[in-house]
Amino acid sequence: MDATGPTGGPPRLRSGAVLEVRPLPGRPGLRASGEISVTTRPSWEKALEELSRQHTDVSYLELSGLRFVDVAGVAALAVTAMNLPGGRVVVEQPPPQLPRVLELFWPSLRRIEVAPR
C-alpha cells in the first residue's frame, strides 16, 4: 500500500488490470494471463468468440498465468461453452475463482472440464 515511489518522490502511477491472450501453440485454444475483470472483459469476450469460431471437438484454455477472474468473466466462458454446437472446453490450471463460480451458478455444465492447478 506504499503509494510513494522508491525514492520518496511522487506517487507511482497505479495501473489497472491487464489481460494478455494468445493462441495455444500446437493445440486448439488459448492461453490467457493477467486478470479478467470489468476493464479487461471486452478482450476476454473477443477471445472467447474467436475460440468458439475455431472450435471443433475439444478446445483448451491454458490459464496458469491468470491471477484472477470475476463472476462475469466466468459467466462469459460458461455461456460460450453452452452455445457450442458440441464437444467441450478443457480449462487448465485456472485461478480458484473459476471452479468456485462454476459450482455456484452452473453446477451441471458438462461442456467445461476443469484440470486444476
Partner: protein
C-alpha cells in the same frame, strides 16, 4: 387453512407456535395436505426442527425435500434465490409448498434486520406465483418486536390453530424500516478506489482479511465478493467508492460505499437466466457470505458482508 391457500396464487402465512408438539402437529399437517394434493413439498428449517417434522411424517418424509435453514439460510439474503426460488423453479409447472423458517431465537442483532427484510421481500419475489410458503415463528422464544414484524410481513397469521388476515400487513414498511444506516468500526482499514484501483483494492482486502484470520476458500470468497461490490461501484455507483474492512465478534466484515442508489429491492435475490452474463455480482455476495447488510438512500449505498472466522 387449505381453502384459503388453494384459492390464492401466492399464500404466505406465518405460523405462531408455542411448543414442539404444536410445531410438529401443524407443520406435519401442512406437509401432508400438500402431498395429498400432489404438490412438491420442501422444508427448510433449523436442524432440530427438521427432525421434529421428519419424525412426525414417518414414511411420508421420503417424498419431501429437507434443508437445514441454519446452513442454507445462514445469510437471509440468499434464501429467496438459493432455497425458495430454486425449489419453485425446479417445479415451474406445479403449485409448490414450502416451510421456511428464517427467524429463530439465536439470530443476532446484526442478522435480524436482514431476516425481516427477507420475509418482506418474499411477497415481492413470489407475487402471482403458484406457491404456499409457511413461516413458523417461535412465540415463546422470540421478542415481541419480531412477532409484531411477522404481522407486517405476512398477509395472514396462524395462531392458536386459526388463520386470520393480518390487519398490519404492509411488507414495504419493513423493507424501509430495516434500511438502517450502517456505521463502520473506528478501527477499520479504509481504501478509496476508482476503476484503475480495482486490482489494488482486491489485493488490499485479501491481505487484510488474511491478517484478520481468514484462509482457504473463505479468503478466496472474500476476494470474489469484494471484486463484485467494487466493480458495481465503478460501473453503477458513481465510478468510485470506499472499501472498509475490520473484524467484529468472530467475523471479518467488508464494506463498500458509493454514491449510487439501489432502487430494486430484489437486486441480488433473483436467480439469473442461464445464458445471462452480467447481473450475478450481488447474488454471488449473498451466496458466499454469512450475512449481508445493505443501506441505500439518496446520499449513497453501503453494502456490508460478514464472513465467520
Amino acid at each position: 387453512m387449505s381453502t384459503v391457500t388453494h384459492e390464492q396464487a401466492f399464500a404466505h402465512p406465518a405460523l405462531f407456535y408455542r411448543s414442539e408438539r404444536e410445531y410438529a402437529d401443524r407443520t406435519v399437517t401442512f406437509v401432508r395436505e400438500g402431498l395429498a394434493a400432489g404438490e412438491p413439498v420442501a422444508v427448510a428449517v433449523p436442524a432440530p426442527n427438521l427432525e421434529l417434522i421428519r419424525d412426525g411424517l414417518g414414511a411420508d418424509a421420503r417424498d419431501v425435500s429437507f434443508l437445514d435453514m441454519a446452513e442454507a439460510g445462514r445469510n437471509p439474503g440468499r434464501i429467496i434465490p438459493g432455497v425458495l426460488r430454486a425449489f419453485a423453479d425446479a417445479h415451474a409447472h406445479e403449485r409448490v409448498r414450502i416451510i421456511g423458517e428464517p427467524v429463530w431465537a439465536g439470530r443476532s442483532a446484526a442478522e435480524y434486520p436482514a431476516c425481516a427484510q427477507h420475509e418482506a421481500l418474499i411477497n415481492a419475489a413470489f407475487a402471482g406465483r403458484s406457491a404456499t410458503i409457511l413461516c413458523p415463528y417461535d412465540e415463546a422464544g422470540l421478542d415481541a418486536d419480531v412477532l409484531a414484524d411477522a404481522f407486517v410481513t405476512h398477509p395472514t397469521v396462524i395462531a392458536g390453530g386459526r388463520e386470520r388476515a393480518s390487519g398490519a400487513y404492509d411488507w414495504p414498511a419493513v423493507v424501509a424500516r430495516y434500511n438502517e444506516p450502517l456505521d463502520r468500526a473506528p478501527d477499520a482499514d479504509v481504501l478509496t478506489f476508482g476503476a484503475q484501483e480495482l486490482p489494488e483494492v482486491r489485493r488490499f482486502t485479501v491481505g487484510r482479511a488474511a491478517s484478520l484470520g481468514l484462509a482457504g476458500q473463505r479468503l478466496q470468497d472474500t476476494e470474489l465478493a469484494v471484486a463484485e461490490l467494487t466493480t458495481n461501484s465503478v460501473v453503477h455507483g458513481g465510478g468510485q467508492g470506499t472499501l472498509a474492512i475490520w473484524s467484529d465478534a468472530g467475523h471479518v466484515v467488508c464494506e463498500v460505499r458509493d454514491t449510487g442508489r439501489l432502487t430494486d429491492p430484489l437486486a441480488g435475490r433473483r436467480p439469473p437466466e442461464h445464458g445471462q452474463i452480467g447481473g450475478r455480482g450481488l447474488l454471488l455476495v449473498h451466496y458466499v457470505a454469512d450475512l449481508v447488510r445493505v443501506h441505500t438512500s439518496d446520499d449513497g449505498t453501503t453494502i456490508r458482508f460478514y464472513l465467520g472466522l
